[in-house]
């Protein structure tokens, strides 16, 4: 390979090839992100029907989610204007097995089923049961398995409008061009970079084949992640070609974690049961970090096990999403909420002790999102007080540990040659050098600056691949966010919606802190760019978090994390399979 590049250099051909690739990469990037966006965001999000309530006047109200609130308030799924009803009166909840229960949400009038009053942990419902909501009678009807299959067949499956295969072919072309550009850039990448990108490509097609085998037709979320991971591989190849094998290993672990978390989320009962276990494990990890962690570059957020150092706080993000997510019945339980507030506080204190301000900020934004999604009427005050408390706590942290970062914030050029602005000014200089199309993968110099391939990954993208590719990478994350918010409208359980919103909020906050922090628009806090920054923990954790986004995709046959309805009779007390 290096001989080939020598010959090409002699003919001056290499520089022309790089010249052209520089224009093709942004074009492909824009098309890839646009195709993912169109596939995710265009088209109807057709609702599902899981049951119905027949009211006294014979009116039939569809239960479109697994979790439905009945009450007088407008925000209820079944909003009934009877004065005897409480504002939020009862919750009708279906579990993953298809069993329904009704919960009394501390209503004034109470809830009874066939004349029996509901207890604290709810009451089982069968199709045809008569429910009395504080004097209002209704008949509950559960959708039959046959109905579910029939509805499933009429719903549009994703992938019809925009072919996922074609999008993947474009991503592959993107990877090939990156590989060619890198191999021409320097002899040290000549073999390693194409091999690494080829491996990413193989992993991508393998995952696609796997989801196809599971009869799932949507692959946009994974496409976005593989597209970003390819850019990340190019960044890693440019800065540390000697570490590419490790980077590939991390990618494989990440994809593995993605499927593992996805599988875990698939059964809501299982996820619900184990979520506090996961959450506590996360907190435990932070505790171990505080006790045994090593201080690296100002933050004590690294743990070394068997020669491999990793950042526990990255994985705790997944635990945090688990802790924050809850099914609708639990959302109305005060105990559940207090526990979450306490958990968030513990995480933030741990991160503060580790002086990891950037990650603390990411957690705090996720906390705000979860709090907003969860807050019932009574809880709003408590949550905002707790939120303000955390904000104040963070402010104190800023004063003691991160003051130097903040002193130079917005004035990086005045601190160009001191630690306050050294990295930011170089990032801006390199980014401007790259212009819209970059100087070519592997041709940059920012990689020689400390933490360029992690904390300044956005700058490295700007320099080597150009502003258009860098903005496409951010756009890809935003597309996932818009998708998560939109799929909430046909979400089955609050658990999935909260989990997806919390994780995407964390990914976006990371993106903002990385891109805007290194460009002196936000304080420079040393946060990684999702999927792009080099390094194991961040990449693996991002893939794990992505599973939450995938889990809220309830379009028909879209997600492996969502079971397909089985034709024929429901198997009692057995897990629903594909």
């Amino acid at each position: 390979m290096s001989e080939i590049s020598d010959v090409l250099n002699a003919l001056n051909l290499a520089s022309y090839i790089t010249l052209v690739i520089r224009y093709l990469l942004p074009l492909l990037a824009v098309i890839i992100v646009a195709r993912c966006a169109m596939s995710l965001l265009r088209g109807e999000y057709e609702g599902e029907e899981w049951g119905a309530l027949v009211l006294p006047a014979g009116v039939r109200v569809t239960l479109a989610h697994w979790e439905n609130v009945v009450g007088r308030a407008k925000s209820c799924d079944v909003s009934l204007q009877y004065p005897t009803l409480s504002r939020t009166h009862a919750a009708l909840i279906r579990d993953a097995r298809g069993d329904w229960r009704v919960y009394d949400l501390k209503s004034r009038g109470g809830v009874s089923v066939n004349g029996k009053y509901a207890e604290r942990d709810g009451m089982e419902l069968k199709s045809g049961d008569k429910i009395n909501f504080g004097g209002v009678d209704a008949v509950f009807i559960a959708s039959e398995r046959e109905d579910e299959s029939r509805i499933a067949e009429t719903r549009t499956k994703p992938g019809k409008l925009i072919s996922p295969t074609l999008t993947l072919i474009l991503v592959t072309q993107f990877q090939v061009l990156l590989a060619v550009a890198l191999s021409l850039a320097a002899s040290e990448f000549a073999v390693a970079a194409p091999l690494a990108l080829a491996s990413v490509s193989v992993a991508m097609w393998f995952c696609y084949a796997l989801t196809r085998a599971m009869r799932r037709t949507a692959f946009e979320v994974e496409t976005v992640a593989f597209f970003l991971s390819s850019i990340g591989m190019a960044v890693a190849a440019s800065s540390r070609p000697d570490m590419l094998d490790r980077q590939l290993m991390f990618l494989a672990m990440g994809v593995g974690l993605y499927f593992a978390v996805g599988w875990f989320l698939r059964d809501l009962n299982r996820a619900k049961k184990l979520r506090w276990g996961v959450a506590l494990a996360g907190l435990g990890l932070l505790a171990v970090n505080i006790v045994f962690g090593g201080v690296l570059f100002g933050a004590k957020n690294w743990l070394e096990i068997g020669g491999v150092s990793f950042q526990p706080s990255e994985f705790v993000k997944i635990a945090f999403a688990f802790a924050g997510a809850a099914t609708l019945d639990r959302l109305f339980a005060r105990r559940n909420l207090i526990m979450f507030v306490g958990y968030a506080g513990a995480c933030l204190i741990a991160l503060a002790l580790m002086s990891d301000f950037g990650t603390a900020l990411v957690f705090f934004v996720a906390y705000l999102v979860i709090a907003f999604l969860r807050s019932g009427d009574f809880a709003t005050v408590l949550l905002s007080v707790a939120g303000a408390g955390f904000a104040g706590f963070l402010a104190i942290q800023v004063k003691t540990h991160v003051a130097s970062r903040f002193a130079s914030w917005g004035h990086a050029w005045e601190y160009a040659n001191t630690s306050g602005g050294y990295q930011q000014t170089r990032t801006m200089a390199a980014a401007a050098t790259g212009g819209l199309f970059g100087v070519g993968a592997g041709n940059g110099w920012l990689k020689h600056i400390f933490a360029a391939d992690t904390d300044m990954a956005f700058g490295m993208m700007c320099e080597e691949l150009g502003l258009i590719v860098a903005l496409s990478a951010v756009a890809a994350i935003i597309v996932l966010a818009v998708f998560a918010a939109r799929s909430a409208t046909i979400g089955r359980s609050a658990f999935y919606v909260i989990g997806a919103c919390a994780t995407i909020a964390m990914l976006m906050t990371q993106t903002a802190l990385n891109a805007l922090g290194s460009m002196d628009i936000l304080p420079f806090t040393g946060v990684t760019f999702p999927f792009v920054s080099r390094g194991g923990s961040s990449l693996v954790a991002c893939w794990g978090m992505l599973a939450f986004v995938k889990a809220c995709d309830t379009r028909q046959n879209a997600s492996f994390t969502v079971g397909l309805p089985k034709r024929g009779k429901r198997r009692e007390s057995e897990e629903v399979d594909e």
């Binding site: 609130v69 799924d77 000014t425 170089r426 801006m428 819209l436 502003l467 918010a485 919103c501």
Partner: protein, 449 residues
């Protein structure tokens, strides 16, 4: 679920903030990208704060600063051109702050917001200067090792053809200059722009403009010079007794007594106003390279200071570039084509040039006639054969025991050669002999080309 799904939209607030933040970034990049890229720590363009990209050529395509085969910085092939264009081009170490290598770094990097500072082979862009390398070499030779500056400009277009400063050195073999080494006294300064000198009698062109516009009988008035005149208890002297003379004669022989009388009559504020209008007191921009501002102190009425200030002595100071711009305006009907160093090519070369009116047209034409008379009546047209020369000498006293600075400023009206010039030879003695000789050689070379 309804509340949860409605509130899920709130996640998009973060997305919106992210989009707005990136919008701000893109706006800042568009506004400041050039400054960011031209940061001396940008390894793509600099090595130890020295620009490593960009090729500078003169108006005829002669390379002033380029590269050898290994990509190392190399200057012009001819040593005389290297020495003559050193101050315009700049040196390797960046000691000459006004050099094009420093002043036009963003252009040399080829920076623009679309492709950044990318260039296919990493050598940046080529920037053409208005300078004529050969003419510059002639000018340096004419200076013959004396300290000074030679500026030549096309007064119709403002293109600067020659900006030679001496002492100079070969940028390929830069000397180690120690403090107090007189051979390289101010060698890093481009004297044409960055230095100001006592203008001496060339300032009489400004006093004359004021006299023409403010003294109604100036054309019929006669002056009597007895060789000296006492003003405010101090003697204003002339090198010789000029006897009875008209205003025209007074300028030609540069009679201090006559101009002392005019200065007292015009007053300090009028003289200051004309010095200001002539552009002597401001920092001029040569495509962004700023010149040094001159000086004119308003003296008390009827004082010897006032008399001397109108003769270009006292505390008066002017940069050669400002004098060049002023005589260009005289040549060009009162409008100065703003001096340029960047050669305009393509469409921009046919666009109208930026011009500034320094004098009204009538005054300019009268001054031009007077300057033609200076040459024919006093300097000797034969000494400047073949040149339709309009000029004014200056022999500026710079202190007891030091030879005066020699100035020669003006323009020629030769067909196809609308050239203005300003020459100064530090401590060169007679303006006409020292500076006039340099101007003569350079202008003849310019016409012969």
């Amino acid at each position: 679920m309804k509340r949860v799904k409605q509130r899920a939209t709130a996640t998009l607030v973060i997305a919106l903030a992210l989009v707005l933040g990136l919008g701000l970034y893109v706006a800042r990049y568009m506004a400041h990208g050039a400054d960011w890229a031209m940061f001396a720590a940008n390894a793509a363009l600099y090595d130890n704060a020295r620009l490593t990209v960009g090729t500078l050529i003169d108006r005829n395509g002669t390379v002033l600063a380029g590269f050898d085969d290994d990509g190392n910085r190399r200057f012009a092939e001819s040593e005389s051109v290297r020495r003559a264009t050193l101050h315009v081009t700049g040196d390797k170490l960046g000691n000459i702050g006004t050099g094009a290598l420093k002043a036009f770094d963003a252009r040399l990097a080829g920076y623009n917001a679309v492709t950044g500072a990318y260039s296919r082979v990493g050598r940046g862009a080529t920037v053409a200067l208005t300078i004529d390398a050969e003419l510059s070499a002639v000018a340096l030779k004419a200076l013959d090792g004396r300290r000074g500056a030679v500026l030549v400009m096309n007064y119709e277009t403002g293109e600067l053809l020659c900006a030679v400063s001496s002492p100079t050195f070969d940028p390929e073999n830069p000397p180690t200059i120690t403090d107090g080494d007189t051979r390289y006294d101010g060698a890093y300064l481009n004297r044409g722009l960055s230095s100001t000198f006592t203008p001496g009698s060339v300032f009489k062109l400004i006093t004359s403009a004021a006299a023409i516009e403010n003294i109604p009988d100036i054309r019929t008035r006669t002056f009597t010079c007895t060789g000296s005149q006492t003003v405010g208890g101090e003697r204003i002297t002339c090198p010789e007794k000029h006897g009875e003379l008209t205003f025209k004669d007074a300028l030609a022989v540069s009679c201090n007594v006559a101009f002392a009388e005019l200065s007292l009559e015009l007053g300090a504020d009028t003289l200051a106003r004309y010095a200001d209008r002539a552009g002597l007191l401001e920092r001029l921009s040569l495509d962004g390279i700023l010149s040094a501002a001159g000086r004119f102190d308003e003296a008390e009425a009827d004082s010897a200071e006032l008399a001397w200030s109108g003769i270009g002595q006292a505390n008066d100071l002017a940069s050669p570039l400002a004098m060049l711009r002023y005589v260009s305006a005289i040549a060009n009907g009162g409008e100065a084509a703003e001096p340029h160093l960047l050669l305009k090519t393509g469409l921009s070369s046919v666009l109208p040039r930026e011009k500034t009116r320094l004098l009204n047209e009538k005054t300019a034409s009268e001054l031009a006639e007077l300057m033609a008379n200076n040459v024919t009546a006093h300097y000797g047209a034969d000494n400047f054969a073949g040149l339709e020369l309009h000029a004014k000498t200056g022999t500026a006293e710079v202190g007891v025991g030091k030879p005066p600075h020699a100035w020669f400023v003006g323009f020629i009206r030769n067909e196809g050669h609308p050239l203005a010039f300003a020459v100064i030879v530090e401590n060169g003695g007679s303006g006409r002999l020292a500076a006039g000789g340099v101007a003569n050689s350079v202008l003849k070379a310019a016409i012969d080309n």
